[in-house]
């Protein structure tokens, strides 16, 4: 096996597993449930910590069916030994999610009658991060040419690393061993076999699972070295008709990570939106993401967050401490060296026709910070007793209208309904042309 590892250049990569999607398909592998259990899905989440050719990949497991039916097949670039596979703490993915989630911020207008410029807000504070769910509510071996390269149990998982010579053999092997391969699976396995990749096959060891005392399956983590920086999404799209979401938290000591074979664009950000969105931020974000996704042609990846992990402004959650970073796979930190970790949160919504190829990534030296940030600006609520106040209220009416327009543009929501939800200003409502009543 060591020899294999030496041929790093030949080892193609990919990795990945997990992923659970609408029916039985996950993003980088497919489920091969042993029974026709209905699988539920949410967004797939993956953490990739990478420096040079070294990678630690963490795949969230949000499988919610009966654990005895859980099984996945994921292409991996190299043969993995027991010590290269770990079971992670599910909380770490929640932590990264909370830290990097798109956020609302609030500002309060000062008294327009007091000295000073009331065009600028003051007193920022972090709004609630998008609730976790809202953001992704989107939310006879040798004869067959199959070799078991290694076999071990990690945590609640029984793991096999297979190599295969041809796809029909692999398909037959999986079927005879009780895995249910989707129609057309064999055809899709072939490119990975030809690229010399191995297959990571995991199912749940029930006695270990019961011993562990956990209710849910924990994330799987794998460490490997390969020049190839990619995620196999094709297998997971086999026969899938609906859109799938993937959120990748990519940690690098260098800077932002971008996708090299699709566009990487920033999610609309830093816009001022009406106050009522505070109570429906999840809905807002979903609608906005869908609008942006459609506008960009449905074949781009969105950056939702790019920041040095040492800080945040405003923070939607405390920065991760060194121990948490270690748990999320960051392996290059040494005690006392500070936290040299740059996070890029990429959100992809993909379908078979728009994303024909597996994702490939590259890290860049881009250390520009970016966050999905949406601004609420509260008008001054106190009593207004000066002339300037009149002007302020007129401006306020215009501002509300502008916010309504922005919101309609970002989300595709009906502008009339937005206007109805907005507060009425003390003065006349702004001059809205009469035709807007019927032609918003």
């Amino acid at each position: 096996m060591k020899i294999i590892r030496q041929f790093v250049a030949i080892l193609i990569a990919v990795l990945a597993f997990i992923c659970f999607a609408p029916t039985a398909w996950g993003f980088c592998g497919f489920y091969v449930a042993k029974a026709d259990t209905k699988l539920y899905n949410k967004a797939s989440e993956v953490i990739i910590a990478r420096e040079g050719d070294r990678t630690i990949l963490t795949m969230a497991n949000d499988y919610q069916g009966n654990v005895k039916d859980f099984a996945i097949v994921v292409p991996v670039p190299v043969v993995l030994q027991q010590e290269q596979v770990r079971v992670g703490d599910p909380k770490i993915i929640q932590r990264l999610d909370a830290f990097s989630a798109p956020r609302l911020v609030e500002y309060f207008d000062p008294d327009p009658c007091a000295d000073g410029d009331f065009s600028a807000g003051f007193g920022t504070r972090g709004g609630a991060p998008i609730p976790r769910s809202a953001a992704r509510n989107r939310n006879a071996e040798s004869a067959l040419g199959v070799t078991i390269e290694s076999r071990f149990t990690v945590g609640e998982y029984d793991i096999l690393i297979l190599s295969a010579r041809e796809s029909n053999g692999l398909e037959t092997w999986l079927k005879t061993n009780g895995y249910r391969i989707p129609q057309g699976g064999s055809q899709l396995l072939q490119p990975y076999i030809r690229q010399n990749m191995k297959f990571f096959v995991a199912k749940v060891n029930l006695s270990e699972f019961e011993k562990s005392g956990y209710k849910f399956l924990r994330p799987l983590q794998m460490a490997y070295e390969s020049p190839r920086f990619m995620l196999p999404i094709r297998l997971g799209m086999l026969n899938a008709t609906s859109e799938q979401d993937l959120i990748a938290y990519i940690l690098s000591p260098k800077g932002q990570t971008e996708i090299t074979n699709y566009r990487t664009v920033k999610i609309p950000s830093n816009t001022q939106i009406p106050l009522f969105v505070k109570n429906e931020f999840g809905e807002f974000y979903k609608a906005m993401f869908q609008t942006a996704y459609t506008r960009e042609g449905k074949n781009a990846a969105f950056i939702e967050y790019a920041w040095d992990m040492g800080g945040c402004d405003p923070c939607s959650a405390e920065p991760l401490n060194p121990e948490e970073l270690r748990q999320s796979g960051v392996f290059w930190l040494t005690p006392g060296s500070g936290t040299n970790v740059f996070i890029t949160r990429l959100h992809l919504r993909y379908t078979r026709d728009k994303f024909p190829e597996d994702l490939t990534f590259q890290e860049t030296s881009n250390r520009q910070f970016f966050q999905g940030r949406y601004i609420l600006r509260h008008p001054f609520r106190g009593e207004i007793k000066c002339e300037a106040g009149q002007g302020y209220q007129r401006l306020l009416a215009e501002r509300f209208e502008r916010e309504a327009q922005t919101l309609a543009q970002l989300t595709g929501w009906n502008i009339q309904q937005i206007r109805q939800k907005m507060p009425v200003t003390a003065l006349e409502s702004p001059k809205i042309p009469f035709w807007r009543n019927i032609w918003p």
């Binding site: 971008e258 699709y262 190829e357 860049t364």
Partner: protein, 292 residues
């Protein structure tokens, strides 16, 4: 005067791409970086054109019998501008110093790496590779154009207009043709569906490279046979670097590595050299690409 020189078309199209990229592709390009690139390239071009001959580097050339008398070196601001626009389109960095270094080295390469007064590195490519190697601040985004068909049409249309005038369509055709064949064979062997193949070939960055960078008539081989071999070699090396070594910016490295091959190919297949002035004066047909 405007648009009399093919390089004017080139400048026009490259500027158009910059505007398109910023307006429609969500690039975070900074205007000041573009201005710095232009200022650096033009200043270097002017400085070197005036200083270089004084060092006497061209003494020996004057004694040789060239088909036409060599004109004194004129600062070629058009070429410098094309280099600057090419850098702005492709190179991304955080600091001014990186852009200045890239622009300086790009123009300097035209003066240093030349043989019988023909430079053999594409200046923009040289600038990009230099800063990728020398600094930790530079990167290239191969996915920045996406793979939408209408960008492909724009690149093919504008590239075609320029190539027709410069007479270097053979280079683009040889490069894209051989690269496509290699990718098709790989696709077939791996058993991917054909949309994977088309997705790889429709990459805006690949097309832009094929149409506007490897066709610079001043630095590529003079003879058609030479150019065909040259373009096919670059395609092959790009293919290997991309698929075997997983280098996302393979085309730039391949062009850089194989540029010196121009000298050998020019020795084997003799052909008249390309001059902008000749094209503009006589009217033969030859013109440029991202850099001349």
């Amino acid at each position: 005067m405007l648009l009399k020189d093919v390089r004017d078309y080139q400048i026009l199209f490259l500027s158009l791409f910059l505007v398109l990229g910023v307006a429609t592709r969500d690039w975070t390009l900074r205007l000041d970086f573009i201005l710095v690139a232009i200022a650096t390239c033009c200043t270097m071009q002017w400085l070197l054109s005036s200083l270089w001959p004084r060092f006497g580097f061209y003494q020996f050339i004057k004694k040789e019998n060239f088909p036409e008398k060599l004109p004194p070196i004129q600062p070629s601001f058009r070429s410098a501008l094309i280099t600057a626009l090419g850098l702005s389109l492709l190179l991304r960095c955080e600091h001014f110093s990186t852009i200045i270094l890239a622009g300086t080295l790009a123009i300097l390469s035209k003066f240093i790496f030349q043989f019988e007064r023909k430079h053999f590195f594409n200046p923009a490519n040289f600038g990009i590779i230099s800063v990728l190697l020398l600094t930790k601040d530079a990167w290239v985004s191969p996915g920045q154009w996406g793979d939408d068909w209408w960008y492909a049409l724009i690149f093919l249309g504008t590239g075609g207009m320029v190539l027709k005038r410069v007479g270097r369509w053979d280079t683009t055709a040889a490069f894209l043709g051989s690269y496509a064949v290699l990718e098709a064979i790989r696709n077939l062997w791996l058993g991917w569906t054909w949309d994977v193949f088309f997705h790889r070939l429709m990459s805006g960055s690949l097309l832009l490279f094929a149409l506007f960078m490897i066709t610079d008539p001043r630095s590529i081989p003079n003879s058609r046979s030479g150019r065909l071999i040259w373009a096919i070699s670059i395609a092959t090396l790009s293919f290997i670097l991309r698929n075997q070594f997983f280098i996302s910016t393979a085309v730039f490295w391949a062009l850089f590595a194989l540029s010196p091959l121009t000298l050998i190919l020019d020795k084997i297949w003799l052909a008249p050299r390309f001059y902008w002035s000749a094209v503009n004066r006589l009217k033969p047909a030859i013109y440029p690409q991202i850099d001349s």
